[in-house]
């Protein structure tokens, strides 16, 4: 596009003309019409993003201590579908399956039980958990940033992470099992945000400012409570468990976690996706949005409810993972512009892909597993700095 303009204008402008003249010629030559827009090809970018995410998912099955070929992993993954298809015993379907998957059948016995177990019991839940948590945190971050009209907001602005951390610490302190830790964390996150919302409703003046302040208040109360639990916890087993949980990790992700978080996250993301265009209007602020006929109270409540639900459940299975919810929405804006119609789907795909990528590093970078919350900062910060510098040059 830029090349075409340059060649076109250098034909009309005399050689050696000052560059300003050329720019003006190029600008005047374009006659505006609504159908030929001058925007980047967002569709292509989205397809590339999805391809990148899908290849990251496939590659992730082969990454880890137990070495496994990508092709084996794919075959293992497809095998239940194949056997299920065959077991249905529908003649036409059987034919199709045999034709499509004949290469698979010929190599059908290249894996053993250990490989099968690694793929299905260890890597699949972990990969799905990474996708879910990443998608949840970055979409919630994008939604909150719009609602608070502030690009520096992260999904724990209303205290979701602090509340979840307290819930998990409490469960660990009471020697409850892993399922209970998840549930306590989830409940803690919801209670924290509910308290913050209730407090903010009692404040006067600007509602979004009241909400931010109430969030800070509630978050500090819950972190203080977590610190107290750490103080009184058993230093041999409880304290390390709490500390490790707070650093965030997907190492213990199970299929039960994935089902639980998956259902809640899908339920929470659907309204955010459906209201994505209205969120543009909400970013204009209270008065302007109202003047265009938006029920700002209701829409804000929906955004808070959904974003809190997905954040709390994500934190409950992964621990506290910072940075993703703050930074992925920025990446999305740099690539897809500011329109929430594109930001929301992009944040879902990019957030999931990014967290999966980082989790692969967490699994392999050192002999012991590195907590994910530490790595997201180490990986995200330099990329973010680079993008900020590139963005600065462009404008």
């Amino acid at each position: 596009m830029a090349d075409a303009e340059l060649t076109g204008s250098s034909l009309t402008a005399p050689a050696g003309a000052p560059s300003e003249t050329r720019l003006q010629t190029a600008g005047a030559a374009s006659t505006p019409s609504v159908s030929d827009r001058d925007l980047p090809d967002y569709r292509l970018r989205f397809i590339l993003l999805i391809l990148a995410a899908v290849s990251c998912v496939i590659a992730s099955f082969a990454v880890g201590r137990f070495s496994l070929d990508v092709s084996d992993a794919v075959l293992i993954l497809l095998s239940p579908a194949f056997y299920f298809g065959v077991s249905l015993d529908i003649p036409v379907l059987n034919d199709i399956l045999y034709i499509l998957l004949s290469p698979l059948i010929s190599v059908a016995e290249t894996w053993d039980d250990a490989m099968y177990s690694v793929v299905f019991n260890i890597r699949l839940p972990r990969i799905l958990a990474a996708l879910l948590v990443g998608a949840a945190l970055s979409t919630a971050g994008a939604a909150y940033q719009g609602m608070f009209q502030n690009p520096l907001v992260s999904p724990d602005i209303l205290g979701a992470s602090a509340g979840a951390g307290f819930g998990a610490a409490l469960a660990i302190y009471c020697y409850l099992g892993t399922g209970a830790i998840t549930l306590f964390a989830f409940a803690g996150g919801l209670v924290a945000v509910g308290t913050a919302y209730a407090v903010s409703r009692l404040t006067r003046g600007n509602p979004t400012l009241g909400m931010v302040l109430a969030g800070i208040l509630v978050a500090s109360l819950f972190s203080a409570s977590t610190s107290y639990i750490k103080l009184v916890a058993d230093t041999n087993d409880q304290l390390p468990a709490i500390t490790y949980w707070l650093m965030g990790s997907l190492a213990g992700a199970t299929m039960e976690d994935v089902y639980f978080a998956g259902v809640v996250i899908v339920i929470g993301l659907i309204p955010l996706y459906l209201f994505r265009w209205r969120m543009n209007v909400l970013t204009l602020g209270e008065d302007e949005a109202k003047s265009m006929g938006i029920n700002t109270h209701l829409l804000r409540l929906i955004v808070i409810l959904c974003a809190t639900l997905v954040t709390a459940v994500a934190v409950s299975i992964s621990g506290i993972i910072g940075w993703v919810g703050l930074v992925i929405p920025h990446f999305c804006r740099m690539i897809f512009g500011y329109d929430y119609r594109r930001i929301i789907p992009a944040a879902i795909v990019m957030g999931g892909g990014f967290l999966l990528l980082v989790d692969n590093f967490a699994r392999t970078i050192a002999t012991t597993e590195v907590p994910l919350g530490i790595l997201t900062a180490f990986v995200g910060a330099p990329i973010f700095a680079y993008l900020l510098m590139m963005g600065g040059k462009r404008s």
Partner: protein, 267 residues
């Protein structure tokens, strides 16, 4: 289409100082009402009451005969559009996206704007001469262009009453003129326009009615030519002015010239 304000009074919180004190006026189709008054006399508060943002006022605001306290934001938005001062946006939407937001009432609750919505927004932008900016970032265009984009957004909202908070604030001389010309075109097309301004000449040049607010009260109302005289401007703004009649071709206008205590320019 009518808007009647009667005995409107308002105070923030439980404070006893009235920001608006017994304000009454009404506007009809084709009116361009210039609201004048020093900073902080309640112009913006009055607009916020009319737009339904502030509801705990005393008195009555009737939109086509209906009390606006009984209407929700969606209903008010069908008839009244708000054009705020153009500020730098937090999120740099394209100009077309900004204009599309005016269609909020017409886009399905869970939907996104379709082809015909986009065409409509584009037509409004062409009408205001900013169609070439459709894909530019709203944060990267000039203040005058931003103001025109906000006007386009109000037009696609299809409200007939446009409320503008100092539409020429922060605009350069040429943009002030261009924006005001567009606004008076709209009044000629039958829109009701209520705008606040600090420039008496804008009232003389473009408005058919003017309202002078001082200390929350309406202290003068009528055509700019009748109402705005040197005494009133001295009382309200504390500036000595001379109101000059001038003729240029077929046009007759008044013009407000500050006389600076009669000293004049430093030689």
């Amino acid at each position: 289409m009518s808007l009647e304000i009667s005995h409107l009074s308002f105070a923030y919180g439980r404070r006893t100082r009235l920001v608006l004190d017994d304000v009454s006026f009404s506007v009809k189709e084709g009116d361009l009402l210039a609201v004048l008054g020093p900073n902080g006399v309640g112009k913006s508060t009055m607009f916020r009451c009319i737009l339904g943002f502030l509801r705990n006022y005393r008195g009555n605001i009737r939109l086509n005969g209906l009390d606006i306290k009984t209407l929700d934001h969606k209903e008010i938005a069908k008839h009244v559009a708000y054009i705020p001062q153009s500020t730098h946006p937090v999120f740099n939407y394209t100009v077309l996206d900004v204009v599309l937001m005016g269609l909020t009432n017409q886009v399905r609750l869970l939907g996104t704007p379709n082809r015909s919505h986009i065409d409509e927004a584009y037509a409004a932008m062409e009408n205001l001469g900013i169609a070439h900016l459709r894909d530019a970032g709203y944060g990267e265009i000039s203040g005058g262009e931003r103001q025109l984009a906000l006007i386009a957004r109000a037009l696609v909202q299809k409200a007939k009453i446009l409320i503008m908070d100092e539409p020429t604030a922060n605009l350069d001389y040429g943009n002030q003129f261009r924006v005001m010309c567009r606004i008076s075109d709209l009044a000629r097309d039958g829109y009701i326009i209520i705008l606040s301004t600090h420039n008496p000449d804008h009232a003389f040049l473009y408005a058919n009615r003017t309202l002078m607010i001082y200390g929350g009260r309406v202290i003068a109302e009528g055509t700019p030519e009748d109402v705005l005289d040197a005494g009133l401007i001295k009382d309200v703004y504390g500036v000595d002015v001379h109101i000059e009649d001038y003729e240029y071709g077929s046009r007759r206008h008044k013009l407000c010239i500050p006389i600076d205590g009669g000293v004049g320019k430093h030689e």
